[in-house]
């Protein structure tokens, strides 16, 4: 598949080299800290109870991606304390509070359906499927706020090729982990669980579509979809399904949670589109977290060069 660069971006544009090197130094230092922490874990456990849920893994040696934006990143604190993860409550501040004891080890993702080689992958296997990249993407929520996040992962197509989809596979269905005992707030969410999402196969195979295992140099916090999630940057945020447990290749268009809840408001495609309003509010503007005034929303969230061709000739109002 042709991997096109973001227009007008060279590798050096993304971050000044000195900053980048400092960052590498920093990450290496963090790696040392991490290793020391592991070695000293026995001693630390004696001193204080282990906080497994909070211990993020540091990733080092990340490959920088040509898809990354140079826009100012939001802080980790903002991105991990302003979440929509209805399994853990509907207020933006709920998931950060309620997801801290979310058990993400062991974690298995089942890849099944119209594939020649169905697999059940444990997290460690997923982490080794491809070199991890850092991709700084814009993320636009249907609620008219947006963020810029340095995600970590690799193109979903790597995983797809591994299982060899059959010619019958035209769509990919995704499912989020659901356990009412760990997610007692889910019953107030008003939507059905487990949370399900879906993509057309070509959308899933687009190099921008990211199988994501971390952000800001470390593993995902539980409230941001630990331990593995999807990131589809040209679609509204709810398409980027969190805490993945099942990936199913299939012939038919899969049901998706928000579309099932209200099909006039949330379409299957849900491409970011300033010209197609949500029935209750305009989508022409958005508020970047950290800013007071709103900025115009860009078609396909600014990823038109990479994705627009997939929708040529389609009525994007009808297939919103």
């Amino acid at each position: 598949m042709l991997i096109r660069k973001a227009p007008g971006l060279t590798y050096a544009d993304i971050t000044p080299k000195s900053v980048y090197l400092d960052r590498r130094k920093f990450l290496r230092a963090m790696g040392i800290v991490g290793a020391t922490a592991v070695a000293g874990k026995g001693l630390l456990d004696l001193a204080s109870p282990p906080q497994t849920a909070l211990a993020a893994t540091q990733f080092t040696g990340l490959i920088k991606s040509p898809f990354s934006t140079t826009e100012k990143q939001n802080s980790l604190n903002d991105v991990s304390h302003y979440n929509n993860f209805y399994e853990f409550g509907t207020d933006k501040s709920d998931p950060a509070k309620n997801a801290q004891n979310f058990k993400t080890t062991p974690w298995t993702v089942s890849v099944e359906g119209e594939v020649a080689k169905p697999r059940k992958l444990i997290l460690d296997e997923i982490l080794k499927l491809a070199p991890l990249e850092e991709r700084i993407y814009r993320h636009r929520c249907v609620e008219r706020w947006s963020i810029v996040v340095p995600w970590i992962g690799f193109s979903f197509s790597v995983l797809a090729k591994l299982v060899e989809p059959t010619p019958k596979a035209r769509y990919v269905a995704f499912e989020t982990f659901y356990d009412p005992r760990q997610m007692p707030q889910a019953k107030y969410g008003g939507i059905d669980f487990p949370y399900v999402e879906g993509l057309r196969l070509d959308e899933a195979m687009n190099p921008l579509t990211l199988l994501c295992v971390g952000m800001y140099g470390e593993s995902l916090p539980p409230q941001d979809g630990a331990p593995v999630r999807m990131v589809i940057p040209w679609k509204y945020g709810y398409k980027s399904i969190k805490s993945l447990v099942k990936i199913r290749f299939q012939e038919k268009e899969p049901p998706t949670t928000w579309n099932r809840y209200s099909s006039s408001e949330y379409g299957f495609y849900s491409n970011v589109n300033p010209n197609v309003d949500h029935p209750r509010w305009s989508q022409s503007k958005e508020r970047r977290l950290g800013e007071i005034f709103m900025r115009p929303t860009v078609m396909f969230n600014g990823y038109g060069d990479q994705v627009a061709s997939m929708y040529s000739g389609m009525d994007l109002k009808k297939y919103h």
Partner: protein
């Protein structure tokens, strides 16, 4: 109880209490403690407090009768004006950050989005009530007509709840909670009116509504 209600300090104390939410928000602005989306935090907080003060205002008449505390009337205007104070802030957080103070853009938005239309209508309905809240205006309009005019708070409260209900995505617990409170307070009035009509008691002047003692 009565002595407490009519004491000259009571009004001052209630006034200060009503300012606490505002002071809290100012404090959080100063401390940069409004979360990842400060504008939204302010919009939601001022909207919440508007609905709460509308509910408090609507509580006065039923509480006066149910608890035989006619002196509560002294606080009704103040509570209503605080509802207007918080809705004005709420409107400003929309006109400023969302619309960049562009009135024509705002009017387009009002015309196009039902949840904005209904919220804006509620705000507009409250403007004449705030203006005519003085004793001078009651005299000028006449008690009966003034009372009729001020019944539009019922519509403002209902529209405010609808505005909130249409805003949320799927968790409708909070809008339904406010909706239930407003419904109870309005149904009580309906029941009260119905009961009075049926009892065919000689008409008594509705002292609370034209009361000047506040």
């Amino acid at each position: 109880m009565r002595a407490l209600l009519i004491s000259k300090w009571a009004k001052f104390a209630v006034f200060l209490i009503c300012l606490i939410p505002f002071a809290g928000l100012v404090w959080r602005i100063i401390k940069s403690d409004l979360g990842a989306n400060p504008v939204e935090t302010l919009q939601h907080a001022t909207g919440d407090w508007t609905l709460r003060f509308l509910v408090f205002t609507l509580c006065i008449t039923p509480f006066r009768k149910l608890f035989k505390l006619p002196d509560l009337i002294r606080f009704r205007r103040m509570l209503g004006l605080f509802a207007f104070f918080y809705v004005s802030l709420h409107f400003l957080t929309y006109l400023g950050p969302d619309q960049a103070f562009d009135f024509s853009g705002m009017l387009k938005d009002v015309a196009k989005r039902p949840f904005i239309t209904v919220g804006f209508t509620a705000f507009v309905l409250l403007i004449p009530l705030a203006i005519t809240s003085t004793a001078g205006w009651i005299r000028r309009i006449g008690g009966k007509r003034w009372q009729m005019l001020h019944r539009s708070i019922y519509f403002a409260a209902v529209f405010g709840v609808i505005h909130y209900y249409w805003l949320v995505k799927s968790d409708v617990r909070k809008p339904l909670f406010y909706g239930a409170l407003v419904a109870i307070l309005l149904l009580w009035r309906l029941g009260d009116w119905f009961f009075k009509r049926r009892s065919k008691a000689p008409l008594r002047v509705a002292a609370p509504h034209v009361s000047m003692n506040s």
